[in-house]
């Protein structure tokens, strides 16, 4: 990590972060890349994450790993919205488009978003 500021309780062991499912790694990697691109500073990120964690831990105290990365994703979505990169309506529409694409894809094949949904993401 490029800054010396520690995140609150990142699930990790001696060798680094630990993920229970691939989406957690994807959410993790997006935050690291956006920080590198300068969309937010690491202290800003830590603050956004801590705020979400405070809410999440109250709601699901026993479910640490998944709850942690759910907070992580929510914090990332909110930062992208406040920085004008995304809108909450746009994110919701795209998430629905992804679920529709999944349902139309035979099991075991890569899920691909239709081009019209993809180009809508640019707006």
């Amino acid at each position: 990590m490029t800054s010396g500021i520690e995140l609150p309780e990142l699930p990790r062991d001696a060798d680094g972060p630990v993920f229970a499912e691939p989406w957690q790694a994807q959410a993790f990697a997006m935050a690291v890349l956006l920080h590198e691109r300068g969309l937010f500073t690491w202290p800003e990120w830590a603050e956004a994450l801590a705020a979400e964690l405070a809410v999440e831990t109250e709601a699901a105290p026993a479910d640490h790993g998944t709850a942690y990365y759910r907070s992580w994703l929510t914090a990332l979505e909110r930062l992208c919205i406040t920085r004008g990169v995304a809108t909450s309506g746009g994110l919701a529409r795209l998430a629905m488009a992804w679920q529709a694409a999944a349902e139309a894809t035979p099991h075991g094949r890569p899920i691909v978003l239709p081009p019209e949904a993809q180009s809508a993401a640019k707006q």
């Binding site: 990790r12 062991d13 060798d15 680094g16 972060p17 630990v18 993920f19 499912e21 691939p22 989406w23 790694a25 994807q26 959410a27 993790f28 990697a29 997006m30 690291v32 890349l33 956006l34 691109r37 969309l39 759910r70 994703l73 990332l76 979505e77 992208c80 990169v85 995304a86 746009g90 994110l91 919701a92 795209l94 998430a95 629905m96 488009a97 992804w98 679920q99 999944a102 349902e103 139309a104 894809t105 035979p106 099991h107 075991g108 094949r109 890569p110 899920i111 978003l113 949904a117 993809q118 180009s119 993401a121 640019k122």
Partner: protein, 214 residues
């Protein structure tokens, strides 16, 4: 001699039902799509970063399974008889309900895992699949010419050793149980686990020699 056992691999892939994404997976994909379309995130850079962390997602789980099987003969028997249950004993279960099968390397046989049609992979024990596992050349050549694939990984097997290729499906995922390295007699599970590499559990490598232990 090469004995690919995957000549007829139409099992499990010809589903008539669709896939599903959990709501949170769909949210992650939605955000990634927007960030990619707007040029904030390059999917290749994202892949590279994930790959860096990938070794932390799962292969250590598989390594614990293998180390226990090396250390505990009863566990080894359970693992080879019913891998799904034996792996669940250590707390690793597949969210998609896939069935795990463990295949043991011996002095006579080397096992190699592939998914010829897509990239089915036992991620609860091995994490995200490496990029090469998903590549078309690996998927096609692993069955047609496994010996040349292994050579590219620097693994030259004795000519008399048979290679068995196992084609993963959406329902059945394979885990290779590599041979226990010589010179590890009396080692504890904790000491054995770091010898188990991801590639040794796919079959594109062997377990590490104790001299090369990390």
């Amino acid at each position: 001699m090469t004995t690919p056992q995957a000549a007829a691999h139409n099992h499990g892939h010809d589903h008539d039902h669709g896939s599903s994404l959990s709501p949170i997976e769909a949210r992650v994909r939605a955000l990634e799509t927007i960030l990619t379309e707007k040029g904030y995130v390059d999917p290749a850079a994202l892949d590279r970063l994930i790959e860096t962390y990938e070794t932390r997602i799962g292969p250590r789980n598989g390594a614990r399974v293998v180390a226990r099987a090396w250390h505990d003969p009863d566990y080894r028997k359970r693992l080879l008889a019913d891998a799904t249950a034996a792996i669940a004993e250590l707390g690793f279960t597949g969210r998609q309900g896939e069935h795990m099968v463990a295949v043991a390397n011996t002095a006579e046989v080397h096992n190699l895992v592939v998914c010829t049609l897509c990239s089915c992979y036992p991620w609860p024990v091995l994490g995200l699949p490496p990029v090469w596992y998903k590549s078309a050349p690996y998927r096609s050549r692993a069955v047609l010419d496994p010996r040349s694939i292994l050579a590219e990984f620097g693994l030259i097997l004795p000519p008399g050793k048979a290679i068995r290729v196992w084609d993963s499906t959406a329902e059945i995922r394979y885990l290779v149980l590599p041979e226990r390295p010589a010179g590890t007699e009396g080692w504890s599970e904790e000491r054995l686990a770091p010898l188990v590499t991801r590639d040794s559990m796919i079959g594109t490598g062997l377990a590490l020699d104790p001299a090369d232990a990390p």
